[in-house]
């Protein structure tokens, strides 16, 4: 949208586009519980209105939001009409309070890795290796818990493994000035090979032992028996609550403390930071190692928090989804967390649809990845990376 167009029309097309997005969403909401209106005309009318708003906005120069309105109108209407073809009981089963719980379950590992990614990228080091660091955390978490009999030790071992893996990435990315994307890819290969090797060497073909100390769920007294809230947040895993705390902590550290300012400074303009006496290398090392620790916690949540087992390559691209969440969230903790919730929601819905609607598991499994692609395309143009992200710093 050109400046001239914006000046001529004021902010109106923006608002119309937002109205269009809302209309599409309302049309869908009416077809879902608790109202569950069964007439196809309702979402279609809302969809057409949303479409009109989107078209109008696009024609008046509000390209981005306008296109979003078009997408939302089409997708929401199609989905609403599809939902109406299903029985109201099965729809309720999919969209019950448990969906909130499973959204959080799926979002938790992503959120750990995304917070880690924010630290690393804010300091100017691209961390494609998040996936591998998660995988290391997943394996060493379960190994530590099995070896010591305590999930707490398992988490510590996972964190140590993640820190060590991140340290390798840091040495190659910072001191040896290797291409950070290539190094990150190497980390992913290494983690896949090391965890696969050790898993078979230690546990053989029997797989992980079944009686492992797992991170407990937190049953909030009182709340857990309330019908809706109880099913939603009454029995979440301890690590899910922990990630909420870490989220706030990350925001505070990054934007309210001297350490956070230093991290951001070396990521935006390392030369300037160096000039005023901030140790660029040390700050970057710290941030990358921290990202490894956080990613490993996310991986450990998968193995000893949620699944209670380990499988080869069990992270299945979650590190990359977390990275996409970082971009989607514009390198900000709350934004990235919101993106993680969105991806978690998609996984949660997919999970439920397969049991209720009989849709192929494989087909539904593509949803989070498709969503990530859409998110990347829709927002990446608007979100700006730290200026020195991915560029090695050469000391003068």
């Amino acid at each position: 949208m050109t400046v001239a167009a914006r000046m001529r029309t004021g902010a109106t097309p923006r608002h119309v586009a937002i109205l269009g997005i809302l209309l599409g969403a309302v049309g869908l909401a009416l077809a879902l519980p608790p109202l569950q209106i069964q007439a196809a005309a309702v979402p279609v009318v809302f969809g057409v209105l949303g479409l009109a708003c989107g078209l109008w906005a696009v024609s008046r120069g509000e390209r981005r939001l306008g296109i979003w309105a078009l997408v939302v109108a089409v997708a929401a209407t199609a989905f609403a009409v599809w939902v109406q073809t299903k029985s109201t009981a099965s729809t309720e089963q999919v969209l019950s309070a448990g969906l909130i719980a499973s959204t959080l379950v799926y979002a938790t590992p992503l959120a750990y890795a995304a917070l880690g990614g924010i630290f690393s990228e804010r300091s100017g080091v691209v961390n494609i290796g998040l996936e591998g660091m998660m995988l290391m955390g997943a394996f060493f978490g379960i190994w530590g818990a099995d070896w010591s009999g305590s999930w707490a030790v398992g988490l510590l071992v996972a964190m140590a493994a993640g820190a060590l893996t991140a340290l390798v990435h840091a040495v190659f990315a910072i001191h040896l000035r290797a291409d950070q994307i290539v190094t990150g890819t190497a980390i992913n290969f290494l983690a896949l090979g090391i965890t696969g090797y050790l898993f078979i060497d230690i546990y053989g073909s029997n797989g992980a032992p079944s009686s492992i100390s797992l991170v407990p769920n937190v049953n909030i007294p009182g709340v857990e028996h309330w019908s809706y809230l109880g099913a939603a947040i009454g029995q979440l895993n301890l690590m899910t609550w922990l990630v909420f705390a870490l989220l706030v902590l990350t925001e505070v550290v990054l934007f309210r403390t001297a350490a956070g300012l230093r991290i951001r400074a070396v990521g935006e303009h390392p030369l300037a930071a160096d000039t005023v006496g901030i140790p660029v290398f040390r700050t970057r090392y710290g941030a990358v190692v921290l990202s490894g620790i956080l990613a490993a916690l996310g991986g450990a949540y998968l193995s000893i928090g949620f699944v209670g087992s380990f499988a080869n390559n069990m992270t299945a691209g979650r590190g990359f989804i977390a990275l996409a969440a970082v971009i989607f969230g514009k390198w900000r903790p709350y934004g990235a967390f919101a993106a993680c919730l969105l991806f978690g929601f998609a996984s949660g819905v997919a999970d439920r649809l397969q049991s209720v609607a009989g849709v192929s598991v494989n087909l539904l499994s593509t949803i989070p990845y498709v969503l990530t692609l859409i998110a990347l395309v829709g927002l990446v143009g608007r979100s700006r990376a730290p200026a020195a992200d991915g560029q090695p710093y050469i000391k003068g």
Partner: protein, 393 residues
């Protein structure tokens, strides 16, 4: 003498670095084997024998040659798609992009080849085969091209988008061939495709049991195509210009966005052909379990990086990784010497180490420089690689 010296100074680092990297990676891999209580020398010897390379040595006894020939055929069967998936990385790399999507492009290539290969059983041989290969290449090109379009239009980084496309391809293909899936074969309780018709199969060129197929020639031809395309055409010039400096290329009137799309599409076509070679050359059908288990596309990354994106380098490192893959397989490795399940993971570790060290040329340049300093005071050789990953990430 001086000419040899000049040649060495120019090409020395380019040859020495990959060799040193490989040696270092195998040494560290051996250390892992040693630390976990196995004998690395015995393990490596068993893997070496499993590759079938011994067939080429004149001193190998004739009695062993028959078995070695079988292994070597297997090694070349695996080398074939590795060359192609490596080219899928190399071509976009020259355009400044890192295509991690080879696995997905390989998978859609398989789907394309199967789709054509299991239809029209009465078509005559060359046409059916050609059509199946074309379908696989087109499917791969589209899959790669999607990532290119996303990058060109919105700046979405190809590393993330190709990884997402990998998973979409893998789950999508599993859906196609699963029980009740749209492309499931005639056996109702087996999640696999139908058999590829005889008219769409690549002809055998060496051996009888599981013979090497004509896809091997296709891979060699692809290396030539890659070399000519990159070094001898206007298109290749544009691709390299964008890879070296996208802003400068744009300023000189080279269409950067179009080159992004085209480079990833060409890369995807190579990977799609790799899928076709496997499924039209020796597998002839695909089982859903094999779709996610396949690593051919990922190994291609290591092959391309080790081969420094040159045609001859890719050929050699594809042979190395093909041998490593076959030598560590359950088929050729004696479990009493070294368990194949461990060995296949060892192969992944070695690949990871090679990528790690090749990425950090500075490490090896330090060593090189230290060595040279002792002899002369000449400046160290310049080592350049095109930067990858331009754009936001």
């Amino acid at each position: 003498m001086t000419r040899v010296r000049t040649w060495l100074r120019v090409h020395g680092p380019g040859i020495l670095l990959p060799v040193a990297t490989t040696v270092l990676a195998f040494l560290i891999g051996g250390l892992v084997v040693l630390l976990t209580g196995h004998d690395p020398l015995a393990a490596y010897r068993a893997i070496w024998n499993g590759t079938g390379i011994t067939y080429l040595f004149p001193w190998t006894p004739a009695a062993d040659k028959t078995f070695a020939a079988l292994n070597l055929q297997q090694t070349l069967i695996i080398t074939t798609p590795l060359v192609l998936t490596a080219l899928a990385v190399a071509f976009p790399y020259r355009c400044g992009m890192f295509n991690i999507g080879g696995q997905g492009q390989y998978t859609v290539g398989i789907v394309g080849a199967i789709w054509v290969g299991t239809r029209w059983p009465h078509m005559s041989k060359p046409e059916h085969l050609f059509l199946a290969l074309a379908a696989a290449a087109a499917a791969g090109a589209i899959w790669g091209g999607i990532a290119g379009v996303l990058k060109a239009v919105s700046g979405a980084h190809e590393v993330i988008s190709t990884i997402m496309l990998n998973w979409i391809a893998i789950y999508g293909a599993q859906w196609l061939f699963e029980l009740g899936g749209p492309m499931q074969g005639s056996q109702p309780d087996v999640p696999q495709s139908s058999e590829v018709a005889g008219s769409a199969r690549l002809p055998a060129i060496w051996g009888t049991l599981q013979p090497l197929h004509a896809g091997f020639y296709l891979a060699i031809a692809a290396l030539f195509v890659y070399y000519v395309l990159i070094n001898r055409t206007t298109f290749g010039f544009g691709v390299r210009a964008v890879g070296l400096n996208a802003d400068a290329a744009r300023a000189s009137g080279i269409p950067v966005a179009r080159n992004y799309v085209a480079a990833l599409a060409v890369g995807g076509a190579f990977a799609g052909l790799a899928g076709a070679c496997d499924v039209l050359g020796w597998e002839f059908h695909i089982v859903t379990n094999d779709i996610a288990a396949s690593q051919i596309g990922f190994i291609g990354i290591a092959v391309a990086l080790l081969g420094r994106n040159t045609a001859i380098g890719i050929a050699l490192s594809a042979l190395l990784f093909g041998g490593l893959q076959v030598g560590t397989s359950t088929r050729s490795l004696d479990p009493s010497v070294f368990p194949p399940e461990l060995a296949s993971n060892l192969a992944i570790i070695i690949q990871g180490l090679i990528i790690l060290f090749i990425g950090a040329q500075l490490l090896l340049v330090y060593i090189w420089r230290a060595r040279r300093r002792r002899h002369t005071d000449e400046p160290p050789p310049a080592v350049t690689t095109p930067p990858v990953g331009a754009g936001t990430l």
